[in-house]
């Protein structure tokens, strides 16, 4: 037996913490800015600083810069100590840190420039996506290499969550960003319409799950018992809620697409799995809160425990609200409203923000061998933050429920009671309240940044080490013993039986479910019976000693849900594309669509009219079908209606003049609108040099353009632009020429956008200029 001294690499931990604090301030500052822009549209500063471009910057900064850097710090710090080993490679650690900061810098430049993929939380353009993938792989190698060198046989529950994070984010990020480049800064995703929507929300939902939740749960499992100096409540609860979360979370993505054109079976899976997620999520909360048993009295003095207790409580609230919002009928009210914004911020500020604060206040003094500069300031941060979150959430709840109910309100004698702008007027006070709440949280966060800076001021980093006994231990179990075991076989048989429900008829399905239940109950009883007889560690304990098998099992658990939902939907989509009568976009409409994406129109406008009478009354032309977006690479269904739905914009018969005036001065056509003006679209040139490339990429993706349409695309686009400019000529004259531009109207992005908006929602009958309603009217008037 020899003893070895292990010196931990805490440099990278300190770096990630500093970056997280700095980018946390930035992310929240941008958040407060866009909150102000909602309350006061005049604070939009086109072209670079409009809500449409800043909102992606806010979400990406909060998720990937603030929480990303925080979780890397926590993972690297706790993993070394839980495994009694230094990070495998200092070089990879440094590459990880600097690479990630370079990605953030690139995002901060490109997003305000309007360079975007047009998918929420996946806006970063393809070269940055590639960089993210590379740096993530660097992280993965560094992490698993560290695991391989560990001086601790068994993996603690925190490590399980880190493994799930790394594996799942890799899969999600790669699949959702599969795209064909058009230029250095633009690409079209390989999926379209319904398929792209499902892939996007499989990613979007699970980015929340595996970037904002699982790594933070791992961090909770390390830092909360450390700070509380209390034993973790329950090992078996860790096992149940870990596997429950990892397996169930992936299925829940479609709850973002309830009542949409997504096939109903997938919607049902999204809803029911979200409900099943409630208990496993609360398992994490329980294990956090009940670990504090015996330490509750210390909450009064210790700001760290305050933040952890509140953070875990907010996690419990958010994971109760999530399943609630996933119920179809609740979602019908809440979807597209601010309620969802309140929900996400309960998680982001309450869970992520407070867990980060608890970790920073506990860890930073230790990394510098000192005490926290000011406990009072940390307490002030806590109270400002808590009240701020509550103000924010209550404002968004009332705003969301108010607007949701107003959208549905039916007038006496039929029709709808409130115009869209009336619903905006009603919630404007809530936008100011939200700004107040968010600003309080930001001020608290800035106090934290000051407090941490004062803590380390003049202090030297402390080198931390541990002495470990290096000894060869015999293997506990072989791979075969772990894989060919009762739990694995029972789970496999149960899953196969349940999978049969997808293809069997109703009666057979009942039999299959009963059989699967019998297998589950039987296996549980068998394992309970064996428990008393057998000596030595149980099956899961053996698994915890085997990194590779553990990782494989996590991967399989994660892939099942994604495959079950994505593969059938993609196959259906492939068939639909061969039978669809939907015409592809003209070359100019495609340009206009890219303008729509670049300006981030989708963050405020949905393109998905749901099957409710009040929706169809407000948005005439029929509810949305899967066919409407069949050629949409990417889909633009959106998730929020700060402005009206645009799926059937063409059915509003507004004409180019209306759109021209509306884009240059929204309030000239829509009194009470809070949309920013887009004067730069008039002076920005259409990228006609890319027309052919855009069309040919679309063609490569299976959009049915003829060869001649691709080669003649630029001429077609110019001709259509000239015709729209012609229709606008008298109005342009009336308004007077725009200042200081030599860009002809027919070459401006504005005309391309008008072409796209005038096309939105046209179906085959609309093209023939004779929709069913008109036909009815003609018959009626002849009677």
């Amino acid at each position: 037996m020899e003893t070895q001294k292990i010196v931990y690499n805490d440099k990278v931990v300190r770096q990630f913490i500093a970056a997280s604090v700095v980018f946390g301030v930035v992310a929240m500052l941008v958040g407060a800015t866009i909150a102000l822009q909602m309350a006061l549209w005049q604070t939009n500063l086109p072209p670079w600083l409009t809500f449409g471009r800043l909102r992606p910057l806010h979400t990406n900064a909060a998720i990937f810069a603030f929480v990303g850097n925080m979780l890397f710090a926590g993972v690297y710090h706790s993993t070394q100590r839980l495994l009694k080993v230094r990070l495998a490679s200092d070089a990879l650690s440094a590459l990880h840190f600097w690479g990630w900061q370079a990605i953030i810098a690139a995002a901060a430049i490109t997003l305000p420039l309007g360079l975007s993929q047009g998918k929420e939380y996946a806006e970063l353009i393809w070269p940055i996506d590639l960089a993210v993938a590379v740096i993530w792989v660097v992280f993965a190698i560094n992490f698993f290499w560290t695991l391989a060198k560990r001086n601790e046989r068994h993996l603690y529950v925190a490590i399980w969550f880190y493994i799930a994070t790394i594996v799942t984010i890799t899969v999600l990020y790669v699949v959702n960003n599969l795209a064909i480049p058009v230029s250095l800064t633009q690409s079209y995703p390989v999926f379209a319409g319904v398929q792209d929507a499902l892939v996007q929300w499989w990613y979007g939902h699970n980015a929340v799950a595996f970037f904002l939740t699982t790594p933070i749960l791992g961090i909770m499992y390390y830092y909360l018992p450390k700070a509380a100096k209390r034993p973790v409540f329950s090992y078996r609860l860790s096992i149940v809620h870990f596997w429950g979360l990892v397996f169930l979370y992936i299925w829940a993505g479609p709850h973002h697409l309830l009542n949409s054109a997504l096939p109903e079976w997938a919607q049902t899976l999204g809803m029911t799995f979200s409900l099943m997620l409630w208990a496993p999520s609360w398992g994490g909360m329980l294990n956090g809160l009940l670990t504090l048993r015996g330490a509750w009295d210390r909450l009064r003095q210790d700001p760290v425990l305050k933040f952890f207790a509140a953070g875990v409580t907010f996690y419990g609230m958010a994971t109760f609200e999530g399943p609630l919002l996933s119920i179809r009928s609740v979602n019908a009210l809440a979807h597209y409203t601010d309620w969802i914004i309140g929900h996400t911020h309960g998680g982001a500020l309450g869970w992520n923000g407070f867990m980060a604060a608890g970790m920073f206040y506990w860890l930073v003094p230790k990394l510098y061998g000192t005490k926290l500069h000011s406990r009072g300031a940390a307490n002030l941060h806590f109270y400002l933050g808590t009240v701020g979150i509550l103000v924010y959430m209550v404002a968004m709840w009332s705003s969301g429920i108010t607007q949701g109910l107003m959208w549905q309100a039916e007038a006496e004698g039929g029709g709808i009671l409130y115009s869209f702008t009336e619903t905006i007027d009603a919630i404007r006070p809530m936008y100011w309240a939200r700004l107040v709440g968010g600003t309080m949280f930001l001020v608290g966060f800035c106090i934290q940044a000051w407090n941490l800076a004062m803590t380390i001021k003049g202090k030297q980093p402390v080198e931390s080490s541990v002495d470990v006994v290096v000894e060869e231990k015999p293997e506990e179990a072989t791979v075969k013993e772990i894989v060919l075991s009762k739990p694995v076989i029972a789970t496999f048989v149960g899953c196969v039986l349940l999978g049969g429900v997808a293809i069997a008829n109703a009666i057979v399905s009942v039999v299959l479910v009963v059989a699967a239940t019998a297998v589950a109950v039987g296996a549980t009883l068998a394992m309970q019976a064996a428990k008393g007889k057998r000596e030595g560690p149980n099956w899961h304990r053996l698994l915890e000693g085997k990194t590779l098998i553990f990782t494989v099992f996590v991967t399989v658990a994660v892939l099942i849900g994604g495959a079950a939902e994505l593969i059938p939907t993609i196959l259906i989509g492939a068939h639909q594309r061969t039978t669809s009568a939907m015409r592809p976009y003209t070359a100019l409409e495609l340009h206009g669509r890219d303008v729509y994406i670049a300006e981030g129109c989708y963050v405020c406008h949905s393109q998905m009219i749901r099957p409710f009478t009040w929706e169809n009354a407000r948005y005439p032309g029929g509810v949305s079908s899967a066919d409407d977006s069949v050629w949409d690479h990417p889909f633009q269904w959106g998730s929020k209606r700060t402005g009206p739905d645009l799926a059937r914009e063409s059915a509003m018969n507004r004409g180019p003049v209306w759109h021209y005036n509306h884009m240059l001065d929204p309030r000239s056509t829509s009194e009470g609108s809070i949309m920013p003006a887009y004067p730069h679209l008039r002076t920005q040139r259409v990228a006609f040099d890319l027309t052919r490339q855009k069309l040919s990429v679309m063609r490569m993706l299976g959009v049915p353009y003829a060869e001649a349409q691709v080669t003649g695309g630029e001429d077609d686009a110019r001709a259509q632009a000239a015709s729209i400019a012609g229709a606008l000529a008298s109005e342009v004259e009336r308004r007077g020429p725009p200042d200081g531009t030599d860009v002809p109207l027919a070459e401006s992005d504005l005309v391309a956008l008008i072409a796209y908006l005038e096309r939105l929602g046209r179906n085959e009958s609309a093209w023939r200029g004779r929709d069913a309603e008109e036909g009815r009217t003609e018959v009626a008037s002849n009677e």
Binding site: E589, T669, A719
Partner: protein
């Protein structure tokens, strides 16, 4: 680090220890288990209820059925609309709706701004009560607008509902031919409310420049409107084109030439 045997007075037996973190093994609370199993049962039940046995229609199925049932439901008769003109409460309601919904384009008195003057007795899309009603209810599509040389208009039937749509129609019938001062110039063709609908239609058919909606069997005639031949041509070209043709250019080209 290793398996340890110690008992904490609150958390009970300690199973493991990692870097000083002890791990107890309390059993799962019953209410938590009930929530978990309950949600799974509910999920299975929901699936069988809606998808396997289809006891009730899903949201979109229910909507489709309701929409099919309500098709053709509300189409106003001329006599009903004319009767409403004498109904003071309908006129008041129509005036209020007009002020909030229509005035932005047609002026506060109906004198016309972006949209045409509604008080001058000339009509682009037909001046008989049912044509006015259907224009409000269903809107004026860009194709129809192009033929008439007008702007398009959203269909308001869904937003206003049947009662208010009829009330606005009645209000418009009450202000036609009042020739508001300072209004937009007359567009379209004069319509004389000459009594019965039959007489109106007869007049329409003899009047070569009549711009009311063509009947199903009569194709838009080429005469009387400059933009019409081109527009008609574009229509035909579109109809002849395959699904894969992108025809926006031709679509938009017509008014330009007109």
């Amino acid at each position: 680090m290793s398996d340890v045997r110690r008992t904490d007075e609150i958390q009970g037996e300690i199973l493991h220890e990692y870097d000083g973190i002890e791990e107890a093994d309390n059993r799962l609370p019953n209410w938590w288990l009930a929530t978990f199993y309950g949600a799974i049962l509910f999920g299975v039940g929901y699936w069988f209820y809606y998808h396997e046995f289809q006891v009730e229609p899903t949201t979109s199925e229910a909507y489709a059925a309701a929409a099919a049932a309500s098709t053709e439901a509300d189409v106003a008769e001329e006599s009903e609309l004319l009767a409403l003109v004498g109904d003071a409460s309908a006129i008041t309601s129509g005036r209020e709706t007009f002020a909030t919904t229509c005035a932005a384009c047609h002026g506060d008195r109906g004198q016309g701004v972006i949209g045409p003057n509604l008080t001058d007795g000339a009509w682009l899309h037909g001046g008989d009560p049912v044509s006015i009603y259907s224009a409000i209810r269903n809107g004026i599509t860009s194709d129809r607008a192009r033929i008439a040389g007008s702007a398009g208009m959203p269909g308001w039937g869904g937003q206003l509902g049947e009662t208010r749509t009829r009330a606005v129609t009645a209000f418009l019938l009450s202000i036609r031919d009042t020739n508001e001062q300072g209004g937009r110039d007359a567009e379209g063709d004069a319509y004389a409310p000459a009594g019965a609908a039959e007489a109106t239609e007869a007049a329409e058919q003899t009047d070569a420049t009549e711009e009311t909606e063509p009947a199903e069997e009569t194709e838009p005639a080429g005469e009387g409107e400059e933009a019409e031949p081109e527009a008609g041509g574009a229509d035909e070209a579109e109809a002849a084109e395959g699904d894969t043709e992108a025809t926006g250019e031709q679509d938009e080209a017509a008014p330009d030439e007109g």
